[in-house]
């Protein structure tokens, strides 16, 4: 072996270190991808009133006087506000933080509401829910095969409207208004019917949504 700096294994050792580092970083990325699997991965449907083109949501600062939505996951409140005024203050329910593991396949779901800045990318009337795999696994049932996809459809649980804010997460209604104020969801933000109607009327595609 060629001797480098008087030590035959200096470069191979450095190369090995870099390879191990790359493997660890890639492994960590893959793990994060798994645990941040969107709870609403198999979607929501309904009459799409408006939908943005399929491109990354723009991150920008609202202009003075512009309306934006804030979700406080700690106190479970949704605010529609401008920089200096609160236009709507509503009780909501956000993600529980619970983890579900599918023992059969090893898939993992973490039911958190994602934090950060998003934008409204879809608005739907009378949405229906296409139940993802976790909804069945949670109940101890096997997810239906593609041939029985209709078994996934549930037109009742989402309320009158759904406001999408990216990555498959929505602000939508609920059958269980008594649970508003408690962290019980699988990641979406649930609102009461009256507040949801008000919010739906006032937000547009592109309205900023801040979740903290």
């Amino acid at each position: 072996m060629k001797r480098i700096f008087g030590v035959p294994w200096a470069y191979p050792a450095a190369a090995l270190g870099i390879v191990v580092v790359l493997v660890l970083v890639l492994a960590n990325g893959a793990e994060n991808k798994l645990t941040s699997f969107s709870p609403i991965d198999q979607g929501i449907g309904g009459k799409t009133e408006e939908e943005s083109p399929r491109r990354p949501a723009a991150r920008r600062k609202p202009k003075p006087g512009e309306r934006y939505v804030v979700v406080d996951t700690h106190a479970n409140r949704v605010y529609l506000r401008t920089e200096d005024r609160i236009l709507l203050d509503a009780r909501c329910s956000t993600g529980s933080g619970d983890t579900l593991v599918d023992t059969a396949t090893g898939r993992v779901w973490v039911f958190n509401t994602p934090r950060g800045q998003f934008t409204v990318d879809s608005k739907m009337v009378e949405p229906w829910w296409r139940k993802p795999d976790w909804a069945f696994i949670e109940e101890g049932l096997p997810p239906p095969p593609p041939a029985k996809a209709h078994e996934r459809l549930d037109p009742e649980v989402m309320g009158d409207y759904a406001i999408g804010f990216g990555d498959g997460y929505f602000i939508h209604g609920t059958l269980y208004e008594r649970l508003l104020g408690v962290n019980v969801t699988h990641g979406c933000v649930r609102l009461g019917a009256k507040d949801l109607t008000e919010l739906y009327k006032q937000v547009q595609i592109g309205t900023s949504v801040y979740v903290f």
Partner: protein, 209 residues
């Protein structure tokens, strides 16, 4: 054993390896509030910042420069405020990382019977669904601390609180600036849960008269 340059390369590789192992293992950190509790933010116009605004007498959470949430505080004595702001020590628009957030006294948001029903109905662990309304907690930075209280009845002080009282007294003797502010209970809930170290904090001093 080996030349200094070769040893340097080996040390560098070792350092990179250890750093990345720490990075790789750090992703699973949890404080019992779910993976988002560390305040991880997705993109957006800057990270979450806590502003202690003595001009408008409020705590404020902003993302970048966009105001998200605020709660007014009371009991801020002007002489105390000036000394505290001076000790906090940040220059204009510079932030200081929050070092500690210690919950000393609290009351459950829901009664045990309600949380049991909700946990049963939703299938989630009761402890994940429960929120505690803080009655008293301490936010501490490098050279300054704020004790935040809310009008929530939460029983008498426990051993932990007495120990922290003694610790605060000792720190005051060593020059830590301390002040007590009062906020409403819902505001205390958000503030205590959102203020996760090392949350960047800025102070807006009171207007000079």
């Amino acid at each position: 054993m080996c030349s200094s340059r070769a040893c340097g390369i080996i040390r560098l590789a070792g350092f990179a390896l250890v750093s990345c192992m720490l990075y790789a293992c750090g992703g699973g950190e949890s404080d019992g509030r779910g993976q988002n509790a560390s305040g991880a933010q997705k993109g957006g116009n800057g990270a979450l910042v806590l502003v202690v605004d003595f001009e408008r007498r409020q705590f404020e959470l902003v993302q970048g420069t966009v105001p998200l949430w605020s709660v007014p505080f009371f009991n801020a004595d002007s002489t105390e405020v000036n000394a505290w702001v001076e000790s906090f020590g940040s220059a204009k628009d510079q932030s200081v990382p929050l070092a500690e957030n210690i919950l000393l006294r609290s009351r459950n948001l829901l009664t045990d019977s309600v949380i049991a029903i909700v946990a049963d109905a939703s299938g989630f662990d009761a402890h994940l669904l429960q929120r505690r309304i803080p009655a008293r907690f301490i936010l501490r930075w490098e050279d300054a601390a704020l004790e935040v209280e809310s009008p929530v009845s939460a029983g008498g002080p426990g051993l932990r609180e007495l120990w922290h009282n003694a610790r605060s007294t000792a720190r005051r003797m060593f020059g830590e600036a301390q002040m007590t502010l009062v906020v409403d209970s819902l505001g205390a809930l958000t503030l205590q849960r959102a203020a996760v170290p090392p949350l960047a904090t800025r102070v807006r001093p009171p207007k000079k008269r």
